[in-house]
Amino acid sequence: MFEFITPMYVFLIFSGTLVGIIFGAIPGMTATMAVAVCLPLTYSLGLDNGLALLLGLYVGGISGGLVPAILLGIPGTPSSITTTFDGYPMAQRGEGEKALRIGIVASLVGGLISLAALFFFAPALAEFAIKFSYVEKFLIILFALTVMAALSEDMLMGIFSGFLGIFISLIGVYDVTNGGNGEFRLIPPGTEYWLEGGFSLLPVLIGLFGLATILEAAEAGMPKGQSLKDIEVGAHSRFSRSVFKGQIGNLVRSSGIGTFVGILPGVGGSAASILSYTATKTASKNPESFGKGNPAGIMASESGNNGLTGGAMVPLLSLGIPGDATTALLIGAFTLQGIQVGPLFIGNNPGTWSSIVIAMLIANIAMFAIMYFAIRWLAMVVAIPKHILFPVILMMCVIGAYTINYGIMFDVWTLLIFGVAGWLFTKIGIEVAPFIIGFILGPAAEIYFVKSLESFGTLSIFFTKSWIAVLLWVLIAGSVAGSVMLARRKAAMKEAEG
């Protein structure tokens, strides 16, 4: 039954995980790219070994994003955005290594919980997933959008920034194949050739987080790198298991949210960590400490985005529908081998099913082993003098932007435009976090809103479609109320301080 477990199989998982971590750790390169690059290899490797390699890349790629998110404040992948909120402040105060260890443990927990959900409940979860029509998916996106307020320094400015992000995300054509009218919109005349598909997410993301940070540092004058002494274990705060005390609920909840978002095709991986982070912040007794280096924030974000890995495999293996962009590529591995994925896949292919589950288990362990023991060297990145580090980051950002869509120069211009915009945003008070959340979720919100109305013909459907819709409205109302209370408390504290 387990004859597929050969030295080659294990080697491919480990090497895939390592390469995936490297891809995830380079700003602008993602798990999706790692899988896309290696997909053609799977034909010659055979199905079990091919999947072993791809699943290693997938788990490694999702996990690697935490490294630059924590050490440099640049999310390696879109799903690591929320890791920057608390990881980077920790690194800045000399707790980079501790933050990395927290992130890696949380990633492992998220990966294993979602894998358990995949193994034990895949068909049942798929049955549940099909209860989510356009209406429920729109409400989940709306719920994720409400977190813009909770993640803002200034609520009003944060909401404005979020809406600006949505506005910018709608530039281009609302594609006919997505149910749109195919008309150009929000485009200055003469730019249709470049802006037909709007701005790509990755270049925008690394522009706002990567290039803008470099420009800010350049403006402030080049700081020196941190001393190696500062980042040694115990220099400021030693990592110990006690940091997870009282966080079991956070880890389980965040992993569960990640898994749940993963099983819903089309909602998108970024929503997983955003929702997990916000749920943890809202549930916290001390929400003000989030965004300033609270370890619970890293745990929520990382267990949420790794929770996605098992979740996204549920619709793929139970319905033949990929849960996210990377699992969409995994379908390629099956089709290249002539294997049908659909509702009977697990029953018809017990060997392949076992091979997938075991590959994901080993990949999670490999991810933990590789990253946990490499931390000491990874953390030294912050000790590299910035006049050397920043040009290297900039070069990687440019390469990442150019390659993300297989060599489109306009993506490099996008990176530069949004790098400068991000720098200007800090000057005029526009907040980057809600902006990027709006930018990521805007197109999906539009598609599901329009399709809901097209399908059901009335706005009341958003309230009457199902009990799930009602529950989501309760969550949305709770999120809005929580944000308002948080903003009031902040204002009161400012007043007291002032």
């Binding site: 896309a36 997909l39 053609p40 034909y43 049955e127 099909i130 029509s133 356009y134 054509v173 006919v176 194949t177 997505n178 149910g179 195919g182 008309e183 150009f184 249709e192 050739y193 037909e196 598909g197 095709p265 089309g266 619709p315 319905l319 033949g320 529908i321 990929p322 969409a328 590529l329 995994l330 379908i331 390629g332 089709t335 290249l336 002539g338 049908q340 659909g342 509702p343 009977l344 896949f345 869509n405 297989y406 060599g407 489109i408 598609i447 399709k451 097209e454 399908s455």
Partner: protein, 348 residues
């Protein structure tokens, strides 16, 4: 050893001589060729067909061919920019159907490009109904429309998914003028969306494919996801070339029951509407014709051998090589036939 200019030159000459046998097979073509495809997915049939053909072609020509899933719009732009033969495109009937349906940013490939050799057919394009649907045949669907019942069909508008829908409307109009108004499109997105439209009860019929939907047809009747095939648009000639065992539990004989002439969707001229989804190459119009001939000659050779043909058949593609000139004429004829169907409906 000192690195003098002479040493470096000698090394370069040696490297060039070593590389010589590799390029000898394809002197007209660049050493590295980028095959951009009209789909942005690596999980679909376009990437699969492109991978299989690129692999065989690269071996035959002795060049590197890299398949890039950039999507139709970017693929047309990339080919349009490059007349050196470094970038060529592979796509299917969507390339001209999008233009016929007026999708923004979709050029007419017959105007600005050279539509090249055909490579393979995916005979899987199909329409399905829920297992408990009252419609057993396409005749039932047309009758329902004639009787004034709305038949909602989930499609992805603007291409391959829509052409069968247009043909169905056209058939309804020919059978009972005015009844075509009762065949209503539910505009969705990808296959997941189309399936979901059926699960939600928003569509009475969905566009799908044999490969993607066959397992749903095997589900028990009481399963909310259970579906039934009602129409396969491929020509019987294409299906008959496919493997006898078919796909999953659906044999070739089963498939033929849902295709013409067993299942009929008539065109205005009385013939049955059929649609074979054909994959073909598209070149920059200023690309050196000698390079196109080189590709044609290489394709002719690889399609004479069994390896590529068997790999295509294993993946449920029908080998369909036609040289450039013949393919171009064939596809133009096909385009004109579909333009007539779409034009008639639009004119109305």
């Amino acid at each position: 050893m000192k690195l003098t200019r002479r040493v470096i030159l000698s090394a370069a000459v040696a490297a060039a001589m070593l590389a010589q046998p590799l390029v000898a097979a394809a002197q007209d073509l660049p050493r590295n060729v980028r095959l951009v495809i009209g789909s942005g997915s690596t999980g679909g049939d376009t990437y699969q067909a492109a991978s299989l053909v690129a692999d065989a072609l690269a071996k035959q020509l002795g060049v590197n061919i890299k398949v890039d899933a950039v999507g139709a719009s970017e693929a047309f732009k990339a080919v349009g920019r490059d007349k050196r033969g470094t970038t060529i495109m592979l796509h299917h009937d969507q390339s001209y159907l999008a233009s016929l349906y007026g999708v923004a940013g979709s050029p007419d490939p017959f105007e600005g490009f050279v539509v090249g050799p055909t490579l393979a057919i995916n005979p899987g394009n199909a329409y399905l109904v829920a297992k408990n649907s009252p419609y057993q045949t396409m005749a039932d669907v047309l009758k329902a429309a004639e009787d004034g019942q709305k038949v909602r069909v989930a499609i992805q508008p603007g291409g391959v998914s829509e052409i069968g829908f247009s043909a169905l409307k056209s058939a309804a109009r020919a059978t009972a003028p005015g009844s075509e108004e009762n065949i209503v499109a539910v505009n969705t997105g990808d296959q997941a969306d189309k399936n979901q439209a059926m699960f939600d009860g928003l569509a009475d019929m969905i566009n799908g494919s044999i490969q993607a939907n066959e397992q749903f047809a095997e589900l028990p009747d009481d399963d909310q996801k259970a579906m039934r095939f009602i129409w396969i648009t491929a020509t019987p000639e294409a299906l008959e070339q496919g493997p006898e065992a078919g796909v999953g539990n659906m044999t070739r004989a089963d498939m033929l029951k849902y295709a013409s002439p067993e299942t009929r969707v008539p065109r205005p001229n009385g013939e049955d509407f059929t649609f074979d989804k054909e994959f073909f190459l598209i070149y920059n119009k200023d690309m050196d014709p000698a390079q196109m001939e080189t590709v044609d000659a290489a394709l002719a050779q690889v399609f004479q051998q069994d390896e590529l043909k068997n790999r295509l058949l294993e993946a449920f593609f029908i080998p369909d090589y036609r040289p450039l000139a013949e393919a171009s004429a064939h596809l133009k004829e096909k385009r004109d036939a579909y333009a007539e169907i779409i034009g008639n409906l639009t004119a109305q």
